[in-house]
Symmetry: C2
Subunit: 516 residues, 2 copies
């Protein structure tokens, strides 16, 4: 992906007329100048290191050209895009290396340790928390360890319903390989089209179908990890009491403890049916109560998603065939996937109706499913016209949802002004609580980066202040690192530092990320 | 509990006639002499340390009398009982301290660190893997940190369906407190009547209703842990991507990383109905396939348990009203608990019938439920008549079950001789695999302890050799420690050592347990 934009250039569309109208209505801003091409800092790595890497991997798999380096610079947060749009690609890696096997990954780490080169594992490049921005100071250079050549599937076990996936597989590639065996992973985050298996594991990703298939961490049965201290092979059984679960220490380690080179995942049979219904609730609170009731009565659909009043109104404004803002209330998407969904769909519908919901039918459900990966493109189009757009998310227990929702909204509007639009949805539901995912849009200030960083800090303070997590599924990266100690405490930070020192004693792995 | 026996003396019964007949049939052995009272080593802790503890906790909560120390000596494995029966209580703690609060626990740890005294956290005392046998060499003494005074319930949240339980609560005490709020934890390991909330968490316990309620580690939402490095407060949300899940590092830490002083658990509504059916399958393999089909089609009952042919025959021999050994095949227990079990019960019955099962009705299911915690008493009665009895368990993926089952059986009969009875059941079922729980009975040799340790080593070698875990729900303790590096590798062991050094730098916490 280009450093200033999301996704496939062929998929980029101009701002849709409906949304363009909304932008003008909201902010009165018109299209800004086209983004200029940006230049890269020179390659700083010593030639001897590059030669060693070339002799290890072959000349074809060590890249120092600007085009390749540009595509491996930072991730896809709005600050990442704003920096790139402002001509700042100072975080570009010196070289991009492409090992093809676990042993080659381990060998690259060995070179990095001996020459004190920072290593940034790179899968899909979709981090939105600064997970691909290695600290450069004190290092001989920065290597992007691109896992693009590790796209295999191994050990498909149709009896145990597991398979081993290599880390460089993107979402659609993994699903295509599994589909050949009649299997699915069912992991569909918004970044699905680009994000990778290794990245899902390293960041504790959660997909839009998490209610049915589970968070990615719950789908991981085993892990192989290359570290400077040696190889970790974890996951001896479906469950074990043989000490702490070390898989859960590597899941979420964001490349700071090691490079994940294989993931054994739990898979399911390809669903025979998929049906997505839309429902209407009078209020966000009423809809959330319905979600909680489903989760606590064991009637969880595959997809369960509730937009608040503002998000519902905005979505409806761009779907004039369904209705306009004046309808009010909140839209819920309820999806069922599996072998015989009719019984479950009816049971869920009965509960939702009992709790005040109105069935809006499949049309809007299908529209959601069709557009489920498109939001990042829309963000690019909004940035093009001078509207700052970003998302952030958290999770909390049901009894704390109102408090967190209000606190984060207040923090964002307090920082960005009353003209800011703050939308929210719940898209991950558990027996004990749920996620809250906020989308923010505001007229760009003179320094939109500083403008956003202040809003982000205010929102993060609000989350931790209200007892919620700093992130439900976007990982820590560099952006959330200042808040991590508020969440896990100084003793928890001490544990992370101790594990880091054990596995990566010279600190070459993704320095500056995760560990405070 | 008395160090030579399980449970409540009032609940001890002589060997039932049916089983006594079976023992004589199988081994031709008659009752051995009554076990003699055993004496304790003198208290080795310096008086100044005891005085400091008394000033901290009060005289009433620091015990050095033999009766109290005897009840806090070791756990309840057969080797523990055999050592006690042979008059060896060398592992008795020097003193038993009973802090009442988190701060008092932290203060005890501070005393222990300053005087280099080993600390063994004690909940229910039901460890069967040597988890309560601290290494004494190099320490000023051994303290049993008895959590018996920490039996509170706090922060009951009926919206989020969570509650905070203190670690000293035994299973029935926790259930009684939760029942007062219309809630249940649903965690029923065989040790339920004595084992404690803290112990469940520290050992990654799994209960007989794990298919419906989940393993204990999946029920833990948050943890408070006192460590020499300070207090850990973990669990900020139902799910989070804020780095590695440190809760999963403390779950299974067996007192070696810290003392768990509070556990926030996920709870469920008290079930309106409970029904347990028995089913018959022609073979263990056929029954296991039926279990796998249920798990992989999302039709999991609350309890799912399958005895192999030998265990089925032996159980039937002691239930003459149901039938004798000649009926053959395997018995399965299928339990449903919840609000409206009829629909699920019918759906499960349809699948089981389709896969060759025969419904034996509720009578034998009820008999299982009534006797589900009684096996340890039977072991005492068997030991009394010179029959060595012990259990061990593992877990593996479905495609590996046959191999592990055969390997462990062969190892046990190889070590104990052809006269040994080896029974097995599957009692914990997952989409990807299951547990295998073995019960072994053999005529006692001249040195039954050495006899058993050789058999245990052979079985453990067989498990790790066949790619299974060394324990599904009994933890590592001292007994499994020699095999842990085969399961998590030397890099994994390095992580445990690094975390231990960070949280317990002087190594006073349960030394000799868990960490190789």
């Amino acid at each position: 992906m280009h450093p200033t934009r999301w996704g496939d250039p062929a998929a980029v569309a101009p701002l849709p007329e409906t949304t363009r109208g909304l932008v003008e209505l909201a902010f009165g801003i018109h299209e800004s100048p086209a983004v200029e091409e940006v230049t890269l800092p020179p390659v700083g790595l010593p030639g001897a290191v590059l030669d060693e890497l070339r002799s290890l991997l072959g000349d074809d798999h060590v890249h120092t050209d600007d085009a390749t380096r540009r595509l491996r610079t930072r991730g896809k947060s709005t600050p990442d895009l704003l920096r790139a749009r402002a001509g700042d690609l100072a975080d570009a890696p010196d070289a991009v290396v492409r090992p093809a096997t676990h042993d080659e990954v381990a060998a690259v780490l060995d070179v990095a340790v001996r020459h004190h080169v920072a290593v940034v594992p790179f899968g899909g490049g979709t981090s939105v928390t600064g997970g691909l921005v290695a600290r450069r100071e004190g290092y001989a250079g920065v290597l992007s360890l691109d896992l693009v050549r590790m796209k295999g599937i191994r050990d498909v076990d149709p009896v145990s319903m597991t398979a081993v996936l290599e880390p460089g597989l993107r979402g659609p590639e993994a699903e295509a390989l599994l589909a050949g065996h009649g299997m699915t992973l069912g992991h569909y985050p918004q970044s699905f089209e680009y994000a990778s298996i290794g990245g899902f594991a390293a960041t504790r990703s959660s997909g839009q179908s998490s209610a049915g298939y589970g968070r990615f961490d719950s789908l991981v049965v085993g892990l192989t990890v290359a570290t400077p201290a040696g190889t970790l092979e974890l996951g001896s059984a479906p469950a074990t009491a043989a000490g702490p679960d070390l898989r859960q220490l590597l899941l979420g380690s964001e490349g700071a403890f090691g490079v994940i080179t294989a993931v054994r995942v739990r898979v399911r049979a390809l669903p025979a049916e998929k049906v997505y219904d839309a429902w209407h609730f009078a209020s966000f609170d009423q809809g959330a109560t319905a979600m909680r009731t489903l989760a606590q009565s064991g009637l969880m659909p595959t997809v369960l998603r509730l937009s608040d009043e503002t998000e519902t109104a905005l979505n409806l404004a761009s779907h004039s065939d369904v209705g306009g803002e004046s309808t009010g209330g909140c839209a819920m998407i309820v999806g069922h996937e599996g072998a015989s969904v009719a019984v479950k769909r009816a049971a869920v519908a009965a509960v939702l109706t009992e709790l005040g919901g109105t069935d809006l039918g499949e049309e809007r459900g299908r529209a959601w499913a069709a557009g489920r990966f498109h939001a990042p493109y829309l963000r690019d189009a909004m940035l093009d016209v001078g509207v700052l757009v970003e998302t952030l998310e958290t999770a909390t227990f049901w009894s704390n949802v109102d408090r967190v929702y209000a606190a984060v909204r207040d923090a964002l509007t307090g920082a960005l002004g009353e003209k800011a639009l703050v939308l929210c949805h719940i898209s991950h539901v558990y027996e004990t609580g749920c996620s809250l995912y906020f989308t923010v849009a505001a007229p760009e200030a003179d320094d939109p980066l500083a403008q956003w960083l202040a809003a982000k800090a205010a929102a993060s303070d609000a989350m931790t202040g209200a007892g919620a997590t700093i992130t439900h599924h976007h990982a820590v990266g560099t952006d959330h690192r200042p808040w991590l100690s508020r969440e896990i405490g100084e003793v928890g930070v001490g544990i992370l530092r101790a594990v880091k020192a054990e596995l990566d004693p010279t600190g070459v792995l993704n320095p500056g990320v995760l560990v405070p």
